[in-house]
């Protein structure tokens, strides 16, 4: 069934348009479709310089050479969205990244209390389903992961920590995430990983990019 999705193309200055869609799964489907076109580089898609997904929007930035590109791009995005399947089942399979975690975070007990699960059940829930990178934006290499066990939805901490160590694995709302470097942060911390999430000398520099599927594993269990 291809009902198509309602999209709104909103103005964002002389170089960009902001495409607003119904929900996050619509963002992910549209982003995947847009990326395949910008990679192929036909027509106006060749002049798209950056694609930034967020919770309900996709920002498309052009090279700014020709102002006439923006209305053309707007029409192309609407046309593209109309061809997408209405269900989130149409997401293309992503690259799988396994993230080993030491589940010894300072908020494990608090998350257990908030969810009514035992600590063991929290870890089992976090490792039991695959997550998917929805979008980034907070810091280089930080990824908002979605699609986890719905029992793990917990609010942010009341008071953010002034410094969260690099590699910390946390929860906030419907998201899980890994801090690529030490920074202030208010997420509930379950543990930490030794993986380098971000390395400016690596290509690609970010391990977790939109579309990547993340599989957390418990270091203690793998021995």
């Amino acid at each position: 069934m291809s009902a198509g999705r309602p999209v709104e193309v909103l103005p964002m200055g002389e170089r960009a348009v902001l495409v607003e869609v119904a929900d996050l799964s619509a963002v992910l489907a549209l982003e995947a479709a847009v990326r395949s076109l910008t990679t192929a580089g036909d027509g106006v898609w060749a002049r798209v310089e950056d694609v930034v997904p967020a919770a309900r929007t996709l920002l498309l930035t052009t090279d700014g050479v020709d102002p006439a590109d923006l209305p053309v791009l707007g029409r192309a995005v609407r046309g593209l969205a109309a061809t997408l399947d209405g269900s989130s089942g149409s997401l293309p399979p992503g690259e799988v990244v396994t993230v080993p975690v030491h589940y010894d975070g300072p908020d494990l007990d608090e998350v257990a209390r908030l969810t009514g699960l035992s600590v063991g059940e929290v870890v089992a829930a976090h490792t039991g389903t695959d997550w998917r990178v929805a979008f980034g934006g907070f810091a280089p290499g930080f990824a908002y992961l979605v699609g986890g066990d719905p029992r793990l939805r917990v609010p942010r901490r009341d008071a953010p920590r002034p410094s969260v160590p690099a590699g910390s694995v946390g929860l906030a709302g419907e998201f899980s995430g890994v801090y690529p470097r030490a920074s202030p942060g208010g997420w509930q911390l379950l543990g930490r990983t030794d993986l380098a999430l971000w390395d400016a000398r690596r290509d690609p520099p970010a391990l977790l990019r939109p579309g990547v599927v993340v599989h957390f594993v418990d270091e203690a269990a793998t021995g």
């Binding site: 200055g13 310089e49 950056d50 980034g136 934006g137 280089p140 990019r209």
Partner: protein, 297 residues
């Protein structure tokens, strides 16, 4: 000896900036690059890097104070904020092609107006790029560190093209007026007149991330229909005018965050972004819908 620029002294802040690193927004890295792109491009053109070529890294000097020494003969140009300049003590003009002999010392005083002066070198500053760019992104920390006394900056190979102009005309002065285009959330404040009807002063705490605008009268309020609306974070652009709940907008510059959660009620034109990058705290300004854009509000 390969040509280089030796940093003798810096003022408040001197950074390397080029056209930035577009394409990494989805992994949390913004484009960055020169804050006043027009001034950077002009400086590059003056030293012979053509409009259609890759624009090399130049020095972005905040409030003057930079002193550099040429290692080898160099061709350089100054644009942007008109910091008084001397070469070995002799005054030299901005927006002109300057020839530095080996050992010559170029010194910048404090500009009377504007914030950022660009020093381009024929061949470009050729430090190691990070993710395809030599720009320092002050928000994400990506790129080379700020310049410091004692740095020796290698100069790259000269392009095949030669400078086509000896000097460029200076821009007209006058009261600062920035041109607005509609943003994705303009309706949250009604229309662009909500911004155009006020006069503004540049706030303190303005930097390469953004310029804060303080209204001289009442702060800008959302319309009743949008007063309690929540906005999930969305992608941001240079020139976006974000309106936090306090009613004092922030105009994003080159090092803006990749995403933001406050409504973007207008977006500056590219030319006005460059102008905004030269605004000093305390400076008065006005905002207006871009002439001719009224029908698109």
């Amino acid at each position: 000896m390969s040509p280089a620029l030796e940093v003798v002294r810096t003022g408040p802040l001197a950074l390397l900036e080029d056209d930035g690193r577009p394409g990494l927004g989805s992994v949390g890295v913004g484009r960055s690059g020169a804050a006043d792109r027009g001034a950077h491009h002009l400086a590059c053109r003056l030293v012979g890097h053509g409009e259609r070529q890759h624009r090399p890294a130049a020095v972005e000097v905040l409030l003057g104070g930079l002193v550099v020494r040429a290692r080898g003969a160099l061709v350089v140009a100054l644009t942007g904020a008109p910091a008084p300049a001397t070469v070995d003590g002799r005054p030299v003009p901005h927006r002109a092609v300057l020839h530095l002999d080996d050992g010559a010392e170029l010194a910048l005083g404090t500009p009377e107006s504007g914030l950022r002066t660009y020093l381009a070198v024929r061949g470009g500053i050729d430090v190691e790029p990070v993710l395809g760019s030599r720009s320092t992104d002050t928000l994400s920390g990506v790129g080379p560190p700020p310049l410091a006394a004692g740095d020796v900056l290698p100069v790259g190979p000269a392009p095949r093209t030669f400078p086509v102009v000896d000097a460029a005309p200076a821009p007209a002065h006058g009261p600062v007026v920035l041109d607005l285009l509609p943003g994705p959330r303009t309706s949250w404040v009604g229309d662009l007149e909500a911004l155009a009807a006020r006069s503004w002063v540049v706030g303190a705490h303005s930097d390469r991330v953004g310029v804060r605008l303080t209204p001289t009268g009442d702060p800008v309020r959302r319309t009743p229909a949008h007063r309690d609306d929540e906005l999930p974070s969305e992608g941001m652009v240079r020139g976006a005018v974000q309106l936090p709940p306090g009613g004092e907008p922030v105009v994003f510059l080159a090092d803006h965050p990749v995403t933001g959660g406050y409504p973007v009620v207008a977006v500056l034109t590219e030319a006005s972004c460059d102008r905004a990058a030269q605004l000093r705290p305390g400076e008065p300004l006005r905002l207006r819908p871009r002439p001719g854009a009224a029908g698109r509000r």
